[in-house]
């Protein structure tokens, strides 16, 4: 999809998700908070796709940034007087970026299991901190009463979640546009190069380590923004934004949708959250059973996720000439 031979123009199929989102708003007004949650996780999944799908970094610790962003927005809204939503977002993004560059610089010198372990350890540490620092985070009870001002002074967060939905949609749109730009740029081509053959990239003079730190930081910033959105929409943040679980969840979502395909990050969360919402409340065991079995199936037989399957059945959805580069 990326690279010098790719066609960067937006295809008509790429507008479908946005059309669908707007249709959702009008057709299913009772499910807007679920919709907002889906949008947030799409943003989170996009951030993961940047490093997993394009740069090839396997991490189970992405929730560290998500959680940091969530708690930043939460702390600002609950403890300080900073309640402007955009300021909260900016602060969350900034702190996540800082954590991203700090941890990335340190751990990206390692690879494979060591890297995986380090990402896990980092998010575990943050979870511990959140757990113990009750004055700031509310500990196991979570932080409630997070105040968020009306957006642009006009749109209050209403009970039906209308504002929340559009707010998340707008932020997601910006995020999507940024990610798309990056993917098609020379930087994106270079990332693909690192993923495809990092030895070769070294041999053409790319300081691979620093490039990985760059994309890791960008990804962290996005994940933190997604976390902040979650807090703002719920006006609450709890411990479940940190640790292994959200990392695992978003990873599964991305695989379901299709890694390295940009829109896998859209489809995955939709499917996952919708199914989870319908099944998990009533039959939690069956939810885990189902998703586990599905995951195993995908790994063994349908590595490209849902998008990969669609590729085989509906060829007109395939992107232009260098489709081969992305078909995995």
């Amino acid at each position: 999809m990326s690279g010098y031979s790719a066609d960067p123009r937006i295809r008509w199929t790429e507008w479908l998700p946005w059309v669908a989102a707007i249709a959702f708003f009008f057709l299913m007004p009772g499910y807007l908070s679920l919709g907002a949650r889906i949008l947030i996780f799409i943003l989170f999944a996009l951030s993961l796709d940047l490093i997993l799908g394009y740069a090839g970094i396997v991490t189970l610790g992405h929730s560290a940034f998500f959680g940091l962003g969530a708690y930043t927005a939460g702390a600002l809204g609950a403890h300080t007087g900073i309640t402007d939503p955009f300021l909260q977002l900016a602060a969350a993004a900034a702190l996540s970026a800082l954590l991203g560059v700090a941890t990335g610089a340190v751990i990206l010198r390692t690879r494979a299991l060591t890297l995986l372990m380090l990402t896990l350890a980092i998010t575990a540490i943050l979870l511990e901190i959140a757990n113990k620092w009750t004055s700031m985070t509310g500990g196991a009870d979570g932080l409630s009463g997070v105040k968020v001002d009306p957006i642009l002074g006009m749109f209050r967060f209403d009970l039906y979640g209308k504002t929340a939905f559009f707010y998340c949609l707008a932020v997601l749109f910006v995020g999507w546009w940024v990610v798309r730009r990056i993917i098609y740029s020379p930087f994106g081509a270079m990332l693909t190069g690192i993923r495809e053959n990092s030895t070769r990239m070294h041999a053409v003079g790319a300081p691979v380590y620093w490039r990985l730190v760059m994309i890791y930081t960008i990804s962290a910033t996005m994940a933190g923004t997604a976390g902040a959105l979650l807090t703002q929409v719920n006006q609450f943040v709890g411990l479940n934004v940190l640790g292994l679980e959200p990392s695992g969840d978003v990873l599964v979502m991305l695989i379901l949708g299709g890694v390295g395909r940009l829109y896998g990050a859209f489809i995955g969360p939709v499917v996952y959250i919708v199914v989870q919402d319908t099944l998990a409340k009533q039959y939690p065991e069956y939810w885990y059973l189902g998703i586990g079995a599905l995951l195993i199936f995908v790994v063994l037989f349908a590595r490209g996720g849902i998008l990969g399957l669609l590729d085989k059945w509906l060829p007109f959805l395939k992107p232009g000439r260098s489709a081969r580069a992305s078909a995995r």
């Binding site: 740029s185 081509a189 003079g205 260098s322 580069a325």
Partner: protein
Amino acid sequence: MAAVLETRSLCKSFGALTVADRINFRLEPGARHALIGPNGAGKTTFVNMLMGQLAPSSGQILLGGEDVTRVPQSARVRRGLGRTFQVTTLFRNLPLLDNVALGIAEREGVSVRMWKPASRHREIKDEAMTYLSALGIADEADARVADLPYGKQRLVEIAIALGLKPKVLLLDEPAAGVPSHESGIILSNLAKLPPEIAILIIEHDMDLVFRFAQRITVLVQGTVLVEAPPEEIARDKRVHQVYLGEQHA
């Protein structure tokens, strides 16, 4: 004449095993130099040290007169050192054009740009095409590397190396694994390489070596046995012994 690439007393040991023993080596600008030696002589180790993938135990490496012994690989590449790999190390799932373009983008500092789409960077694509054309594979610019026959893949290696506009080019067995009916293409393309680049070629194919090289270094068990023009090497009895195995291991 100042050497463009030089090693002084370069050594490498893995514990008790010495793989490189005080190698002194000079490469002049525009050189056509070959490094030969029996298997296990330490040729690839030497190249890996030159490139910066392997740190020497002691000794110095100089590139363009500057000490680069501690400089990482990517920095050496940016200073003008290029290589091809013995086992094809390409972006197999990407088109030929991208393979070459990635290297050019690095050189030009374009690959950190995140704004304009890559495919709109005409200059990079055009330059990539010139190298592909020079090697006669421009028609397959859109094809995936993995879909090409092995001989052509070896040419892509060379194209990428050219795209780096190196001052020194290390070719690690460019004809390795290429069926004999395709290896002529390799040789003719090697002959077309720009004369100002200093080239060091490691090869086992003696035919290729003797037709290409102006100077030959023979490496045996980590030390330089002899360095001389091809005619002298061909006459040298010790070289014969080393290759025909009359000398005990």
